[in-house]
């Protein structure tokens, strides 16, 4: 009891001492993030100028970042901020810059080119964006030029929308025993394929809503050993489009970390579906999709929102097939920009390089979510 009291007192004194030290002599980074200082140092090199810019963006010191641009006459500070955070509600709106990297591309005495890779922390994970910046010399200092991407403005208008909407009324608590309830949607797994990857066994497949009503779907899988004892159970989590309209197909991806296919005797699949109120809006076109070979194998394309509602979050899921039509991989990407009506937004889904050579076709579905109502 006495030793415990002494320990508590020591811990309390040490904590107070550390708080005082941190307050009186803060490290520069902490002071900068607290708004009491700046991480920016001398911009005596192009890389230093880019690093200063990255630090200002990370601390959301927009004014200081803007004032340091060599081309600030070409755009306003709000336009710069909207370029980074978006004008409409999207994943980027509440994201913070977690980290950035600077890659020199070219340099001479008066100007240089660097590539900045930004790692944004969003609610669905890290979102990576890349910008190539021109850095110009001004006196003995270097100043970046921001490659502004002005978002296309949607003119004020009224867009009539008359897509179908489904609502669900279930059996009430006062209904008699034996009274009917609404039937849950009928869904079917139309393809399933286990593959072994470095981080474990992956179950890839596709599920179809074969009903005439919308379905909220998810898929669980249980790996069974050769003696039919369960090894592990995992779900598709967000590697699926959960809302399936009638006759719509989504891929799913289930990872079993740390497992080996050689231990697996069979796989038990458990699709789950339930009725969900839904709308047939919005319609999103996936345009100009291209499979890019290794290195940096990827599926690129652009999303075009054909409806009247701004889509806040778009989740692009790509299903990749080999020559015989078998699913060989499923990959996804969250688009961190809002999809405005008829405004193309790029996406880029990474494909593992060892699989890229086996891929001969692909199919893409887009799940969407809107924070706000129609424009």
């Amino acid at each position: 009891m006495r030793k415990g009291g002494v320990l508590a007192a020591v811990l309390f004194i040490a904590t107070v001492a550390l708080i005082m030290v941190g307050t009186i002599w803060p490290v520069p980074a902490a002071a900068a993030y607290a708004g009491a200082g700046s991480l920016s140092g001398s911009a005596s090199t192009p890389e230093a100028a880019a690093t200063n810019l990255g630090n200002e963006i990370r601390s959301q010191n927009w004014g200081k970042a803007y004032s340091g641009f060599a081309n600030k006459a070409q755009f306003t500070e709000p336009e710069f901020v909207h370029d980074l955070t978006g004008s409409y509600q999207s994943l980027r709106t509440n994201a913070t810059l977690n980290n950035f990297e600077v890659f020199p591309l070219h340099s001479d005495n008066n100007e240089a080119q660097v590539r900045m890779k930004f790692y944004w922390s969003t609610v669905v994970g890290t979102s990576v964006s890349t910008r190539d910046l021109q850095i110009v010399k001004s006196g003995d200092q270097w100043e970046p030029e921001w490659p502004i991407e002005k978002m296309a403005a949607v003119p004020p208008q009224v867009i009539p929308v008359n897509y179908l909407r489904w609502d669900v009324i279930y059996r009430g608590p006062g209904d008699d025993w034996g009274a009917q309830d609404v039937e849950e949607p009928h869904v079917r797994i139309i393809d399933m394929h286990p593959v072994e990857r470095a981080d474990g066994v992956v179950i890839l497949g596709e599920i179809l809503n074969e009903d005439v009503v919308p379905a909220y779907v998810s898929v669980n899988a249980t790996l069974l050993s050769k003696s039919q004892t369960p090894i592990a159970t995992e779900g598709s989590f967000d590697k699926i489009s959960h809302l399936l309209l009638p006759k719509q197909v989504t891929p799913f991806f289930i990872l079993f970390p740390g497992t080996s296919l050689s231990d697996v005797g069979s796989v038990r699949m458990t699709p789950f579906s339930t009725l969900i109120p839904a709308s047939a809006d919005p319609v999103i076109e996936v345009d100009n999709e291209r499979l890019n070979p290794a290195p940096d194998a990827s599926l690129t394309g652009q999303l075009i929102n054909q409806s009247g509602r701004a889509v806040s979050v778009a989740h692009v899921l790509g299903t990749f097939y080999n020559k015989s039509g078998q699913v060989v991989w499923v990959a996804d990407q969250y688009v961190d920009r809002a999809l405005l009506p008829q405004t193309p937004v790029q996406f880029n889904i990474h494909i593992p390089e060892d699989l890229a050579k086996n891929i001969s076709s692909q199919r893409t579905v887009v799940a969407s979510y809107s924070f706000e109502s129609a424009l």
């Binding site: 179908l164 034996g178 005439v212 309209l245 006759k247 999103i284 999709e289 394309g301």
Partner: protein, 288 residues
């Protein structure tokens, strides 16, 4: 509270049967129809107390032996095995009798599954029925049941069945016509109705046409129907895919007023295809 009474009654029933198994019979009828009135003349003389223990409760009366005791209608409504016993100054005795359900159906529990299914499904509709009397006792004696499935156009399928231990079931094929079918089960003059929604199956012979619309292509399907000619419901997803020069454009469009239409970029030499779920439609080579 009812559960406690039931447990007390069942516990009491066991003890009473043991205590009075060797006693004198009281003259109760062997069987009594649930809810019906009946009377009993207790043999002997003097006064005593009559106890009747059965499913769902117990009853206690002060009685005078030799008199006729009447039990009005509704006194014994729960079907099951009952034990009656008396205690008194002159004689103890017991009797056992069964309360049986009435033979006339008064209520039906009808389970019809599913509430929604595609047209043309063999034995896709099942109906199970449980027959009860006025006091919700399951009627165990065989009763004739009539099942009817009628679609909006008026055609009716019927099946007959006889209950076995209170239940009967049947199966029907879903018809080839979509609509809300009425599924009726009838026992005597009592019936129960359920609605089975028969919905179109997969699209059949999915066809689209392509026309230029300014800079873009206008893709329109013909009215989408299933293989029985039923219009596929609005909201069903139709997928248009355009493949050109190593690239691809895809759009999932919901049916609206029976057709799906969309505008896509125009690419000379593109191959345009249409599909819905796992059903493929026609393919068009755009050369203009």
């Amino acid at each position: 509270m009812k559960l406690v009474m039931l447990l007390v009654a069942l516990f009491g029933l066991g003890s009473v049967q043991e205590a009075f198994s060797q006693g004198e019979s009281l003259g109760f009828p062997k069987t009594v129809q649930a809810g019906s009135a009946f009377s009993v003349q207790l043999l002997g003389s003097g006064e005593g107390t009559l106890y009747i223990v059965g499913p769902g409760g117990a009853l206690k009366r002060d009685v005078r032996f030799g008199e006729i005791w009447s039990f009005p209608a509704g006194s014994f409504s729960n079907a099951g095995h009952y034990v009656a016993f008396v205690t008194g100054s002159s004689s103890d005795g017991s009797s056992e009798f069964d309360v049986v359900p009435a033979s006339k159906a008064a209520d039906l529990s009808f389970l019809a599954k599913p509430s929604r299914l595609p047209v043309g499904l063999h034995n896709g509709i099942t109906g199970a029925i449980y027959v009860f009397d006025d006091y919700h006792n399951l009627i165990a004696v065989p009763l004739p049941i009539q099942f009817e499935l009628s679609n909006p156009s008026g055609s009716t399928q019927t099946r007959s069945a006889v209950t076995r231990y209170g239940s009967a079931w049947t199966e029907f094929d879903s018809t080839l016509q979509q609509g809300a079918d009425k599924f009726l089960a009838r026992a005597g003059d009592i019936s129960s109705l359920r609605v089975i929604r028969q919905v179109p199956g997969d699209p059949c012979e999915l066809k689209m046409s392509v026309a230029r619309s300014g800079e873009k292509l206008q893709l329109v399907t013909q009215p989408v129907r299933d293989c029985s000619g039923n219009a596929v419901p609005d909201g069903t997803i139709i997928t248009f895919t355009q493949t050109y020069h190593g690239a691809q454009s895809v759009v999932d469009v919901p049916l609206k007023r029976g057709i799906a239409e969309v505008q896509m970029p125009s690419h000379v030499g593109a191959t345009i295809s249409v599909a819905s779920g796992v059903v493929l439609g026609n393919q068009i080579q755009w050369e203009k």
